[in-house]
């Protein structure tokens, strides 16, 4: 029933009949979602509040497991295996699929230590190696010039936009395959937002990106593919331009033209 485009390129993730129910809820929040995520491109998830886009996003890195009691069914295929099985190594998974949150979440430590955190978790101790990787990550996150002279300073001294780019640097330092963005600019001013959007477009050369956004214009600006969700279902997934100009589903058209949400 849903209109899902057939992606010819390689896929980073493949969701198959994924169903998710929150603890104690009578009805599932996500109903049999099937969706491909193209590699090295940006897939945006849009839809009105409560449609399940964040719930779906957080399933990719098994964030829901932090809060026991939820149930799910179906498959999410990544690197040739289903990552929803109980024997999936979550720590390893999360170094391959990273996440950036709605508000900047700089840890209470120095800028350098923030970016190095993921690397140290993996056991990297060599100072030269750490320095190189941190510098590379900060450069790739387009913030190196602003902080190179104060790496030892506390990260909380940075502005909101800078902190968010720091979080991005921290996430890409471990060189993940996929990056999940959960409404990353909702707490930022327009100029910082622009900066992040530009950065996200640059990053897709190296990682596959899924971005949840409640801002349709942002999805139109940034993404290659867009998925429209409504009440826990994936209504339509297609090339961004096509979806916004000639949507195939009526619901999609109504959402885009502002009839609801």
């Amino acid at each position: 029933m849903a209109s899902i485009i057939d992606i010819k390129e390689e896929c980073a993730l493949q969701v198959r009949d994924f169903e998710f129910t929150y603890k104690g809820a009578g009805v599932p929040s996500l109903k049999k979602i099937t969706m491909p995520i193209a590699k090295n491109s940006i897939t945006a998830l849009i839809g009105p509040s409560g449609c399940g886009k964040t719930t779906l996003l957080r399933s990719f890195n098994r964030m829901h497991d932090l809060y026991p009691g939820n149930t799910y069914a179906g498959e999410i295929e990544f690197e040739g295996r289903n990552i929803l099985t109980p024997k999936e190594d979550l720590i390893h998974l999360r170094t391959k699929i990273g996440m950036i949150f709605q508000k900047p979440t700089a840890f209470p430590m120095s800028i350098f230590d923030n970016v190095a955190y993921g690397l140290r978790l993996q056991g990297m101790k060599n100072k030269t190696e750490l320095n190189d990787r941190v510098e590379k990550a900060l450069k790739d996150a387009a913030i190196w010039k602003e902080v190179s002279d104060r790496l030892k300073n506390d990260a909380n001294g940075l502005s909101g936009g800078q902190q968010q780019r720091l979080c991005i640097a921290r996430a890409i330092a471990v060189e993940p395959e996929v990056l999940l963005f959960d409404e990353p600019t909702s707490a930022l001013d327009p100029i910082s937002t622009q900066g992040i959007e530009r950065l996200v477009i640059e990053l897709k050369e190296r990682v596959s990106i899924i971005i949840v956004t409640h801002n349709m214009q942002q999805a139109a600006r940034v993404s290659d593919y867009t998925g429209f969700m409504y009440l826990g279902e994936l209504i339509e997934l297609g090339h961004t331009e096509e979806l916004f100009v000639t949507p195939k589903e009526k619901l999609t058209q109504e959402y885009i033209t502002g009839k609801f949400g």
Binding site: L66, I91, R94, G98, Y117, A171
Partner: protein, 282 residues
Amino acid sequence: MIDKIFFNFTRFSALLILVIVAWIFVVLFNHSLEAMHTFGLDFITKDEWAPNLNKFGAYAAILGSIISTTLAMLLAVPIAIGVAIFLSEIAHDKIKSFFGISVELLAAIPSVIYGMWGLFYFVPIIRDIFGGMGIGLLAAGIVLAIMILPFMAAVTRDAMNTTPDILKESAYALGGTQWDVIKDVIIPYAKAGIIGSLILALGRAIGETMAVTFVMGNVHKVPGSILDPTTSIPVTLANEFTEADSSLYFSSLFGLALTLLVMSFVVIAVAKFYFLRKARRA
């Protein structure tokens, strides 16, 4: 008209607190003047508490207070932090509420009962293991630690719970384990609140009377070892206030009370103003 009367009633009641507190300091100070004039600094530094000779040097009591409280903190702090971590990060819903309520009920049990339990059930154990009377600094330190534990665990847990969820999730999202998140995110974030809570509990422990009176021994002598009976400031006050028979004796007791009040006031104020400020604003 009624408005004004009501307003004045409320303001009077509120100001009353300040008045009472100031009054307490003034009264204690006045009544200790005699002892202060007679003994000067010796009151605090001399270990010579002899009511029959009308000589009062409270060093033993002060030392007893300091050592028993320090011992209690050494024992209680690690366990309280462990319990706080358990309550805020490890326990699942039902266990969390069961434990949480247990901790708060424990905190509600009157301290005199801790003292009774300590005397009848714990002291014999100390006696069996270490010999001697069983009553003394060690018993007092342990009973005090158990008494202060629930309060300390509860306020430390509250401090840890101020850590925002997405900050914790960010660390998990990088592949961190629970302990990584606790050690690298929660504790640094809630550092001020945690230390403040611990110091606040210390402030309470200093003034604890009943739990300790049963098991300390009320012997005015600097103890030779941790197993020896001794005394602390609250214990001295509890046992001797009604036996004082000379004005100098009374004055010395008031001096002790003033010392105790100042000690705990300072510790609690430091906890509150220096460390717990941040936690409140968050």
